[in-house]
Subunit: 139 residues, 2 copies
């Protein structure tokens, strides 16, 4: 297993995708008014893309319009001090095709926040990377 300079296990893309599929929530990273922005979102994987559901007039929908964004998901155990993190970087687009929207609406992607969320954002991973705390320290 390869390790990075910080002593963390480097995950391969296949492991990253497997881990991503295990959690319901991630964080999308974008730029809003020239400042870095980050927002937790429920997501689902669809054909290898990260799909997020948001309000049509949300700042997220506006900011993600054809921008390059990052998306991070992780799972850490504070007591054991272990866990993993996966980061996807790629172009985001707001889904505009009515047939695609109808199909995505049927996916098991239920936001935790109340309020109407009729816009879907699709992030196509151009880069995917992940790290995991080592089970045993590297020698």
């Amino acid at each position: 297993m390869p390790y990075d300079s910080g002593g963390l296990e480097i995950l391969d893309p296949e492991e990253c995708r497997t881990l991503l599929a295990k959690v319901p929530l991630g964080r999308i990273v974008f730029t809003h008014r020239a400042l870095p922005a980050v927002q937790p979102v429920n997501f689902i994987l669809d054909g290898g893309d990260v799909v997020i559901r948001t309000g049509e007039g949300s700042k997220l929908a506006a900011a993600a319009r054809n921008a390059i964004v990052a998306f991070e998901a992780d799972d850490f155990d504070a007591d054991a001090r272990t866990g993993w993190s996966v980061v996807v970087i790629g172009p985001a687009r707001v889904v505009s095709d009515p047939e695609e929207t109808a199909r995505l609406r049927d996916l098991p992607l239920r936001p935790w926040a109340p309020g109407r969320r009729e816009a879907f954002i699709r992030i196509r991973p151009a880069l995917i990377s992940g790290r995991r705390t080592p089970e045993t320290l590297p020698t």
Copy 2:
């Protein structure tokens, strides 16, 4: 309690700071090679600042040098579908003063990853904001 357009409770700065102090891990958002970057990090609050410990030659230490960064921490319960998130935005600086470094080294900030981490990054919150899923839906 005020709510945002997505139906989430808007937390005041005091609540945000109280919640931040309850978790050991957050995510720093910065720019690396002109791309958005996000990395989980252990942190501690010190005099209102978010303090992170990293390797001296890390890409994080390089990228955070006098940049405006975002820092996010959250705590979600996937079963109850509830939780909160706090985001801090502000200038980051790498601590260079030896006395300050010595003092920070004595704080209970123990990174979970192995490897030497002798650089401290300090983020001064210029903006702090938070959201929480509502206990009951807003009427």
